[in-house]
């Protein structure tokens, strides 16, 4: 008797916890529907593979926002996406959902004295992040500027001639991963947010393509997929991250993620790794011994449009 009494409140609590939410109800219904339709289709002319694809697509469609997922759900969606890539493209990919590391805040510094405008960074970024080759989407844009200018809008962003040109300097512009980012505030579906290690990311599955963030960003840091991105199969980078360089599709927003798939593994972003002049310094802002902290402490630094109070984690410096 006593034993039962003790258990009674626990039972109700458990019942409350297991209350069927709208989302989980829909998910259950959808899976059941998918299974039902799949069984019908397999009875007819469909193959087993297509029913598996349909089932995975259903489950993908009704998943949560990435930030609300438990670790198991994150692992499940990554497994589903890997399988879907195999089914749809015939491509084996490794997708990661690596969480941010403790005590890490990524920061970037760009040496405007050293940059020669070779654009190796731009090319490396395109290759690394599976950017659309058809529309020639690029996260980085290099501007050729006259001395004394510090506003890229006064420079030439589409140069194609032998570089460096005498008496010109080069300034790279990309997403600055603002601590106080206007794009995050503008998003109506909370599809974009700042991770604890400072990277501003997009959950492409929750992006509705309204492009408010594009309008809100004062740095032209975001790119929109006007069509389905075209990447030759042999050029697809198979080392992907859920919040990073996995394949996007028509109607979603994308942006520089500081190469989240690389930097959370301890690597430099592709642009910094590719730079032949060493103009790009990347590191952990919370580590007093890091290179980026040396730059901030010892060099002349400035942030672009600092007066907007966006608090970007991207500094320009000069020798």
């Amino acid at each position: 008797m006593d034993h039962e009494k003790k258990n009674a409140p626990l039972k109700t609590a458990g019942f409350l916890d297991n209350r069927c939410t709208r989302r989980s109800f829909l998910k259950g219904v959808s899976i059941a529907a998918a299974a039902g339709s799949a069984s019908l289709v397999t009875g007819g002319c469909g193959s087993v593979a297509s029913s598996e694809e349909a089932k995975l697509k259903w489950q993908e469609f009704f998943k949560k926002n990435y930030r609300l997922m438990t670790q198991e759900e994150k692992d499940a969606t990554v497994t589903r996406l890997e399988r879907l890539s195999k089914l749809q493209r015939g491509l084996d990919i490794q997708m990661s959902n690596q969480e941010p590391h403790n005590n890490v805040l990524f920061g970037y510094a760009f040496n405007i004295t050293r940059c020669k405008g070779y654009m190796d960074c731009v090319e490396a970024c395109v290759q690394e992040n599976n950017l659309d080759r058809q529309s020639k989407t690029q996260y980085i844009r290099l501007f050729e500027l006259d001395p004394g200018q510090l506003d890229p809008t006064s420079g030439d962003g589409k140069y194609f001639h032998e570089v460096p040109v005498k008496d010109k300097f080069y300034m790279g512009v990309q997403c600055y991963h603002c601590e106080n980012a206007p794009c995050i505030k503008a998003c109506p579906t909370k599809a974009t947010w700042r991770e604890p290690d400072g990277i501003v990311v997009v959950d492409y599955d929750w992006c509705i393509g309204c492009r408010y963030c594009l309008a809100a960003c004062p740095y032209w840091g975001r790119r929109f997929n006007w069509g389905n991105p075209v990447v030759p199969k042999e050029e697809i980078n198979t080392k992907q991250h859920y919040l990073g360089n996995r394949m996007r599709w028509k109607g979603v927003m994308e942006k520089c993620t500081f190469c989240v798939q690389r930097t959370r593994q301890g690597k430099l972003p592709a642009c910094a790794d590719a730079c032949p002049t060493g103009s790009r310094v990347f590191g952990n802002l919370l580590d007093p011994d890091s290179e980026i902290r040396f730059v901030l402490k010892n060099k002349k630094v400035f942030r672009f449009k600092e007066e907007l109070n966006t608090d970007p984690k991207f500094w320009y410096f000069m020798d």
Partner: protein, 204 residues
């Protein structure tokens, strides 16, 4: 009324002033700079397990970086004819070997006018397997930064700290940086002009 506004007009500015004064304070809550200033503990380099020592030829630098040690890319393995003393012996070279053993391919464009450098200003005349600095100290090819730093002391100071040069592949893990000669040809150290790797489309 006019006197009132002229005398106490500044009072209307007061709320605005208070608002402006508060704004940075509000934005400053948890701002990047505040977080940076608050972070004094060095980051555990080995915390990120996937950042490992590269399987490349590196040597322990004979310098310190923020009180700690670091590694630089080696140079000797990249010199195709090293060791130099294989050819540079006491024996008189044969004239017929001349085309093979001279260094005609080396084009020195280091320093201008009166300051142009000659071979022996860096290469050790006595021991060809080493370089030599202005004080007559032997310097290993792998540690050429000690030689370069004699004149280029400011880039060297920046290189030691991390503002010049670059790390190899990893921002975490053990610090491995490129050597001076990894990027600069010691005989002609200035970067060349070339066509860019790609191009960007116009903005509109």
């Amino acid at each position: 009324m006019r006197i009132l506004t002229s005398r106490f007009g500044f009072l209307f500015l007061l709320p605005a002033a208070v608002f402006l004064a508060c704004q940075p304070a509000m934005a400053g809550h948890g701002s990047v700079l505040e977080r940076i200033h608050a972070a004094e503990q060095p980051f555990d380099k080995l915390q990120i397990g996937s950042a490992y020592q590269l399987p490349v030829n590196t040597v322990l630098a004979k310098e310190t970086y923020q009180g700690g040690v670091f590694r630089v890319l080696g140079r000797k393995h990249a010199i195709s004819r090293y060791r130099c003393s294989v050819c540079h012996t006491k024996q008189t070279p044969q004239v017929r070997d001349g085309a093979l053993i001279t260094h005609g391919y080396v084009n020195i464009r280091h320093g201008e006018g009166e300051n142009a450098l000659a071979c022996i200003e860096c290469h050790n005349r006595q021991d060809r397997d080493f370089l030599i600095d202005m004080e007559g100290q032997k310097i290993d090819f792998d540690h050429s930064y000690k030689l370069c730093g004699q004149c280029h002391f400011r880039p060297k100071r920046d290189w030691l700290g991390g503002a010049h040069g670059k790390r190899v592949t990893y921002w975490a893990g053990e610090r491995v940086v490129m050597n001076c000669t990894s990027c600069h040809d010691p005989h002609s150290p200035a970067f060349k002009t070339k066509m860019p790797e790609t191009y960007s489309l116009p903005l509109d």
